[in-house]
């Protein structure tokens, strides 16, 4: 059987859209082929063997056929369906946010294996342990690194002097930290506390399971959130839509104090 038009790809389903009555166009992120879209015929029909494997937030092995238009997914095996992640509203929403970030920061057909492995590791971690603010902030920071926009935090990005342990600044357009002198002439410089700089530097050099153990108060957590999103927004030049959903979930979880809120330590401290 197999011809040169057949190929196999392991990847994560980032999103899909519907086409025709029963088909789906699936956008996969794979280590070797990068991001690409393919058609999964019949995937919306109950009982379709493809259906469960081409659902969002699924890691699978996909048998594909190259075609002139969109490739075709002919068979698929689930490698990880992240079932714990999908059983929890907050975790699933965080997973969708991670996928949207990756989707927004990649173009079709450009492989980025480190980014793929990073996304897979993050989804596994969220599935296994859960997702708190540290995980979200760490994900944003290291995503920037994986797409070539690692924030420069060693010394002042403008004058090159080493940063003293005082309140420095962070500029998204300059791509890193600024000393107090240079910050004055930079319009988008925002105050960067000593603790925030310390955490960001630490996160640039550690793994997710270590990063999530950093203990911080509400103020620091909020500061990092603002810096992180400003950076992401500046690099990607667009809003990440599922972020509004996370913000809403968090505020409503606070109001109704349901179980989902318990995955967000900073609201515990706020109470």
């Amino acid at each position: 059987m197999g011809s040169s038009r057949d190929y196999q790809a392991e990847g994560i389903v980032l999103r899909h859209s519907v086409i025709g009555e029963r088909d789906k166009i699936v956008t996969l992120f794979t280590p070797d082929e990068g991001k690409f879209s393919a058609v999964a015929r019949g995937a919306r029909r109950p009982g379709s063997s493809l259906g469960p494997s081409v659902e969002m937030l699924t890691y699978g092995r996909f048998q594909c056929v190259r075609r002139r238009a969109l490739d075709l997914i002919t068979q698929a095996t689930i490698l990880d369906s992240f079932s714990n992640l999908k059983a929890d509203l907050w975790r699933m929403s965080c997973g969708l946010y991670a996928c949207e970030l990756v989707d927004s920061s990649t173009v079709d057909g450009a492989p980025n294996r480190p980014l793929f492995e990073f996304l897979l590791e993050a989804l596994m971690e969220i599935d296994r342990v859960g997702c708190d603010d540290n995980v979200l902030r760490f994900f944003e920071l290291r995503l920037l690194e994986h797409i070539g926009f690692r924030p420069s935090l060693g010394c002042c990005v403008s004058c090159g002097s080493s940063l003293r342990p005082v309140e420095n600044s962070l500029s998204a357009t300059m791509g890193g930290a600024l000393c107090p002198d240079c910050a004055r002439s930079c319009p988008d410089a925002k105050a960067l506390s000593v603790s925030a700089l310390k955490v960001l530097r630490f996160w640039l050099g550690c793994r997710l399971d270590v990063a999530r153990r950093v203990k911080m108060g509400t103020a620091l957590s909020c500061e990092l959130e603002e810096h992180g999103y400003r950076f992401v927004r500046n690099v990607l030049q667009r809003d990440i839509k599922s972020r509004a959903w996370l913000v809403r979930l968090r505020s409503e979880a606070l109001l109704t104090s349901t179980s989902e809120a318990s995955t967000i330590p900073r609201w515990f401290e706020a109470e």
């Binding site: 469960p52 369906s81 969708l96």
Partner: protein
Amino acid sequence: MSITAEPIARLVQALGKLPGMGPKSAQRLAYHLLLSPDAEIEELAASLLSLKGSLVFCSQCFNVADSDPCSICADPQRDRTVICIVERPSDIPPLERTGKLDGLYHVLHGCLRPARGIGPDDIRIRELLPRLRSGEVKEVILATNPTVEGETTAMYIRQLVEPLGIKVTKLARGLPYGAELEYADEMTLGQAINSRQEF
């Protein structure tokens, strides 16, 4: 310059806007209609025209209906203590055909799609709450699609409904009839195990 007669081009263009209709299918359908008997075309045109004119949203369940309230909401025989929540009006007929539900419905007109910016205010979630606060409702059945977005919607609604002291149930995600266990995926099988019943 166009090689297609203007009325056909216009029809192809209009049909091409329908969901699931590519340019080729639109063209095929247009030529099919061209060759259909006049009476059939007139019936089709008339039904299209009356579609918008005579249909309304039921102000209780938001189903599309020819009257408000719809025939289900108006039926005194239906069990008013049970509300089944669906994504689309077209989800109701298959549920009705099972003959297993005799409560009321609530049509959301979509589901939560965080990555597309579709949140609770963009579908009819808010409208559900006044119906539940009346105290009459004892059970909410979540019948959203078994997809990531359908499940997101279901879990979100559960979060809103549970504090009201109303029982929340969800359609079981089991093995499809005629399927073989060996080929079932881990997600479906896991959910089928979780929702197993005494036999």
